[in-house]
Amino acid sequence: MAQLPNIKRSVVSSIQKKPEVLRNLSLCVAVALGASVAPNAYAQSADAFPECDASAYLTQGHLSRTYALDLQSGDYKVAADYHESRTLPQYAWTKKASLDALGFNPNDGYAYGWSQFHHAPVRMFNDFSIEPLNVATNGQKHFYVGDVSGPDNVLYLYNRSGKDSGLYAVDLDSSSSDYLSMKLIASRNQLKLDVQDFAVHPYNGLIYAVEANGTVIEVDPAAGTRTDLGKSEVYGNLGAAFFDGEGNLYVVRNYDGGVFRIGIDSGVYKGQYVATAPSATAHDGFRCATAPFSPQAIELSDFGDAPDTYGTYAKNNGAAHIVSGDNPLRMGKLVDSESDAYAHPLTDSTEGDDEDGVAFVSTLVGGQKARVVVNASDNGYLNGWMDSNRDGVFDASEHWITDQVVGEGDNSVTVVVPSDLIAGETWARFRLSSNQGLEATGVATDGEVEDYQVNLLSDKVSVSSYPSANGFSTVAFEDNWPFAGDYDMNDLVTKMRTRTYKNSSGITQVDIEGYITSVGAFYENGLAVRLPGVLRDSVDETNLEFEISDGDVVASPLEADRDEAIIIITDNVFKHVTPGESCDYYRSEYQCGADLEFKFRVSIPFKEPQSADLSGLFDPFLFATPGSFHGAHFVNPPGRSYEIHLKNQAPTEAFDYSLFSGVGQDASDPDSGKYFLSDSGMPWALEVGTDWNHPYEFVELSAAFPDFPAFATSNGSDNQDWYLEENAVTDLIFPE
């Protein structure tokens, strides 16, 4: 298998910019190859893509966020957060709203593809919005494979299951009498393609792809035939395919984002590693196929992560530090080199967080001194800002560290926290450079910027973090209660950590944050956290803060009409995650890895200090999505009245206690305080107090973690660290 090289966090030398003339090309200069005529330059429409640029556009996720990928460096940035439908508002989109089979049409400058929501081909405009086309689709609903043929001005689509499946062509020539007709041109049985995407050669009009077994194939759509060309040695689900103007095919592997070049015109079929793109459960993408491989040169810098109101993106003069050399000046061990920022809530930290050089070793209390430890790779000047009034900008008065000289290693810095702060979550920025006099924004010639989310306090409190300040615990569920499942403990897996703020009178606030890391289930489930012993009315809901990574928050997560304080993280995890192509589940099957799709954070202040015993992860639980099927053993979908908690944790007031009827393997006995345990004492939910790697799909816990049985049967006396990765069977656990 073609393996990715051992990639360190990239520190890339500056790349000299190419002359500006290349950036302003509005025509694709094509060299005629074979008998086909090069595509015509299109009459520019105002809403078409303005130029045949060299970026490859990758779409991912159920609402299809699109990234612009530089094939040479692997650097990528968000081009569109989601694709606005010109016919439907966003809230009408469902979990199957992805865009696939995308291709760029050099004849008119639009991109075309298939919408799983509309069950129709769509046209994509230069703002990445889409519009379904009025095409008679012969009842076909789903296509995941496709591309536009420039020479033939058609959208090719391929599906391999269902009635009349096969290769279809949608005519995109507005001057043709067959415009927007969709015809089956070769059946599935004729071609038998095992591909997640294909690409059309920019000049000869033939279709090329790499099958999951590494075979490079050529499809002649006119003849309805396929030819096996050779072995690429690139294996796995290759969800996106592109061409460049030199006749090279590029494929992007879903589970690790590896980008490989296949020399179609040169006949060099063995895949050559090119770059690493974002990994995803499912990819698709498009590119102007006649654009040359070598894009305009870009100068890579380190950018901040704070929301763009603080000046983060390049277009807003964001804080940026040019990164060069093998050992650039930085804070901590890691530094990013990128063409633009990933402003919160986006993140580029999936392969290692470069916000690793600053530690807040004491709390930030108004009017008090606080201690910050900054690790510097070399001598430099440190500047810092704290948004103490939480207005979303770093004011001049909030420049709380000014040109402080720091040396190599740890530097203890004392700062005075303003007494007139506004308590709550805010952002702090640190910049290390050999440059003096830096502002909160703008470019520095070296060094690094690190942005942190911090909590400002108005009074002295103790702050407890579980499992630690920056660590995560893991909660893993089996969702087939009251029946025992396969004990692969990955039906729903979430990472969580909590923070508890306490003064002399009690707990004043709690924070919860986390992310979904696996959904190895067909049932639709929600995730929630109860605060044991806390009444809903005790929560200062006006000042409650809730953030999710993949969209806007439209309602308070505090469950309405309850006596208890219950936080609903989501009522359906499938709103936020997507199984990969050729995968049944999210991040539980072999080679079905992907970047994380759903993160959450909630801050819950109380009106008065609480005496409740809030510790650990409080009470996380799974519940059945209202209205969704949860097993034929139910007369009606149980919805919110169905919950699964950690063993011996009582359910909430929403639970239907009649479900404790002794059905299945459940041995709950509310009279004795026993809940959600089997007749052998085994649970349906486990908390593992660390960032845990769950077993692969269908691999039971005892097989993946051989120390677990003794831990369980000794009732915790033996093998207390059974969950550590060093004690796992590595081949049986899902890699993080």
């Binding site: 499992p467 479900l659 004795s672």
Partner: protein, 169 residues
């Protein structure tokens, strides 16, 4: 339900565990027992349940579940698989009775040999002020940690931090 092959580990010897009678509830009977929609002792009648049948025999194939080693493990009813435990930490720092101070407790650290420590502050579990130079707190530590380091920071930046280690017995 989809038929699937469950991968089990090698055969192991099951320990015979005598299941004890269920222990008493740990909750304070004087407090409002949030989380119990029904008063203790009350359960729903068969007529009220949402199940289509109330026995596995009646449910037939709907009640079929994979046979796994994990499901067969015998565990005490009141064992809750905790992977963390509590540690009580106390401090009595005379200097902190004169100058305000705050203590931070972290689990990932190493001694430098000169009385100071290298500390990974991402591993910290508690930051708390000292009152009158005194502190007493309970930490909830995951099982792989046997010790913590406590660091006392003074509001006077000229004062060096003080360190105190704690170990589980």
């Amino acid at each position: 339900m989809t038929t699937k092959t469950i991968i089990s580990g090698a055969a192991f010897t099951a320990l015979s565990i005598m299941l004890t009678a269920c222990g008493s509830s740990s909750s304070n009977s004087d407090e409002v027992e949030l989380g119990a929609a029904f008063a203790q002792g009350q359960t729903g009648s068969a007529a009220e349940t949402n199940y289509i049948a109330l026995s596995n025999e009646e449910l037939g194939t709907l009640a079929e579940v994979p046979e796994t080693q994990t499901a067969a493990l015998q565990v005490l009813d009141d064992f809750t698989f905790d992977t963390s435990r509590n540690m009580t930490v106390t401090m009595s720092i005379p200097e902190a009775a004169i100058v305000e101070a705050e203590a931070t407790f972290c689990t990932d650290y190493s001694a430098n040999g000169d009385g100071s420590f290298d500390i990974n502050y991402d591993s910290c579990v508690l930051s708390a002020p000292l009152f009158g130079g005194e502190l007493s707190e309970e930490l909830n530590l995951v099982n792989q940690h046997d010790s913590v380091i406590g660091v006392v920071w003074f509001q006077d930046p000229s004062m060096q931090p003080m360190y105190q280690e704690y170990h589980f017995d």
